[in-house]
Symmetry: C2
Subunit: 411 residues, 2 copies
């Protein structure tokens, strides 16, 4: 008998029929003798509907009241899921975040979990109940309802698994696991049986949006066994997220590369002809950061004429904002020759823990792209990934040839 936390996202509980499917799956696990805690999101579209209602009354809604309104989305789903289970003859009980009680700080709309009281849940689990818990929400020390921010239901699932010392936290989504790359782009993409926490972070942050990064970090911190599965398939083991401490790094059977990640959402900003002096990076990026613009890749190259070129990437939506800031506040100040932007770029990354101990991954990647005539505009590396920026129009080609070069296809 295991204690399993199962988290179902908005598309998995989008309507009564899908909620019935969730209940049937829970029933199968229960029939195996497991104790089950189910965490559900709001029915898909519901959070946006509630947000829209609030914004009709206040353009920037008061955060406490917004949480009061938006948290009802999950409250409806827990009641519905419990009903579907009871209809199947299974003892079930729903819990709001406050009822559990999932104690958070008071940062409404983006609260962080401080503590989870596992007393009520444990008692009900031991009494044979399936506990259905509202994701995304908690309660502060004064009893105010808080929410964890978008995607917070994953975090609720992982945090509950940690608090209850669960054997496994299963995250059900509309994909059946983590793939070597996006199967919609490369039909030969293969589902990974397991992936390390760090690889997952790279893949998630680079476009394989399977799990909320925060929940993966949480799982890593509390050593929660995390598995991604499809809520639309009966069978399949999904992908297990492992941690390096599990000894994976020393497993010689593991492939060197786990997958190819990509991202079309970034744009490139280049500051040309900057006098090469200390403090230039801060003078350029300081004002950008002050404007709350997230910067991803950053590259600086020293030139021959005593000037340097400085390039970074931002989200496409923020390209113009970034360019305006640089032209208004930075260019004259630092004496840069030119500020230019390009939103016709894409980022492709080769990800794998194995590359740490294997030379030649980078050269293989660069050679593969060169053979297809794909020019590399930027390169950035970390311990477990090599990312390049290329012309957007070559993205599909690059992902396909890299996937093949690193032998990631379905065996």
């Amino acid at each position: 008998m295991a204690l399993i936390v199962q988290k179902y996202g908005g598309t998995s509980v989008a309507n009564p029929e899908r909620i019935r499917n969730v209940a049937r799956r829970v029933a199968r696990y229960k029939a195996m003798g497991h104790q089950i805690v189910v965490v559900v999101s709001a029915m898909s579209g519901e959070t946006n509907r509630l947000l829209g209602l609030a914004k009709e009354l206040m353009a920037e809604p008061d955060p406490r009241e917004l949480d009061m309104i938006v948290s009802t989305g999950e409250q409806v789903t827990i009641g519905m899921t419990a009903l579907a289970l009871i209809e199947l003859g299974i003892k079930a009980k729903s819990y709001t975040g406050a009822q559990v009680k999932i104690l958070t700080d008071d940062a409404h709309t983006k609260a962080r979990i401080l503590n989870i009281d596992q007393h009520n849940l444990k008692a009900d689990l031991d009494a044979g109940y399936v506990c259905v818990v509202a994701g995304f929400q908690g309660v502060d020390i004064d009893g105010n309802i808080t929410t964890l921010g978008r995607g917070g239901s994953d975090t609720t699932g992982v945090a509950l698994a940690a608090a209850l010392n669960a054997d496994e936290c299963q995250i059900y989504t509309d994909v059946d696991g983590v793939y070597t790359t996006d199967p919609r782009m490369v039909p030969e993409a293969r589902r990974l049986k397991s992936i390390t926490f760090e690889e997952m972070l790279e893949l998630a942050s680079q476009g394989s949006k399977v799990l909320q990064i925060r929940s993966v970090e949480f799982a890593g911190k509390y050593k929660v066994k995390l598995r991604v599965l499809s809520s639309f398939e009966e069978e399949g083991d999904g992908t297990l997220i492992t941690f390096e401490e599990d000894g994976k790094e020393t497993n010689m059977e593991e492939p060197i590369i786990s997958g190819i990640a990509f991202n079309r959402d970034e744009a490139k900003v280049t500051v040309l002809g900057v006098p090469d002096k200390p403090g230039i990076a801060y003078q350029i990026l300081g004002p950008v950061a002050d404007a709350n613009i997230d910067v991803d890749m950053i590259i600086q190259n020293v030139g021959a004429d005593g000037t340097t070129d400085f390039t970074f990437t931002v989200h496409k939506n923020e390209l113009n904002k970034a360019l305006n800031i640089l032209r208004d506040k930075v260019q004259g100040h630092i004496g840069a020759r030119e500020i230019s932007g390009d939103d016709k770029i894409a980022k492709v990354s080769v990800v794998g823990v194995g590359m740490r101990s294997h030379v030649g991954i980078a050269s293989k990647m660069f050679r593969t792209l060169a053979e297809e005539g794909i020019n590399i505009q930027m390169i950035s590396t970390s311990e477990i990934k090599i990312a390049v920026v290329i012309d957007e129009k070559y993205l599909e080609l690059a992902v396909r040839v890299l996937h093949k070069a690193f032998e990631l296809e379905e065996a």
Copy 2:
């Protein structure tokens, strides 16, 4: 400075624009220096929508889970109302029933209020906040969310007024007070400046559905000054509900009759030719009550041949159920000649505290109906009302002629 509880029903908060209107009214009272507690229902249609969702999963939804789902309706409205107030620059804070805490028994979907903790509300009122409280809901001793049943928001308003020792409880609806009869049927109907609690009970239970009966009883028990007003009109004092202890009965200026109530929702069940023996009434009504069918009027007449005819009224929706029970379980047992039903009836009542001390009201009522050729099928009387059952098709005529005969028209 007074402490006022204002309760707004579903149509008064049906959409963001109407919620803004509610906020503006609250703002006016606040500007007069009053402390305000606002109680709101779910946006109209929302409770039915949620009920429908629940019933898609379970024909007879588990009551605890149903309360979990349905209580979100009011939770959305309190957040929205607080946002509308904050947008007007007014300090406001929403409260679920659990946050207040409105302690109830554990009879889910029809819970009764046991106690209201006024500590949090008082503190926030004293700090200058408008407190916006979810109607219709509470929490049991174990922290489960409960609901008070349909119309329970009125009860929440009155109970809060009692607990906070408020100066007045204002119930805002889509009518601007209690009328001598339904103005849609009799255009000359006059709004009553005040009405006694008992008259109100009769008028409310007989079709003038202005207030939930339970809330009026509650107000009577705790001596809450209750006023019915329109949420769609800027001006007007509505109708004050008084209690006899206020000395109204001795006020000679008061009219004898307050109004004409009516009800089209009842059907008549007649058991003909029952041997006239002790226990017959129980043998007939016992099985009906066991099936949870509410019975309103009950009449029994002794006949000449040693048999008796027994007639009672039930809600039209329950006529067939009642007839089946009588035919299957009762008819043979008691040896009744015939069981018949009629749903083409209507009930008309003349209501007034004054009739206790004035003879001739009944005869005037019967004569008025006779003059129009309206046959009376059943008669039932109480201290403050005379009710008759007539053919449904004469209902409008009966109400109009009685309204005129008792001189209830607008002066």
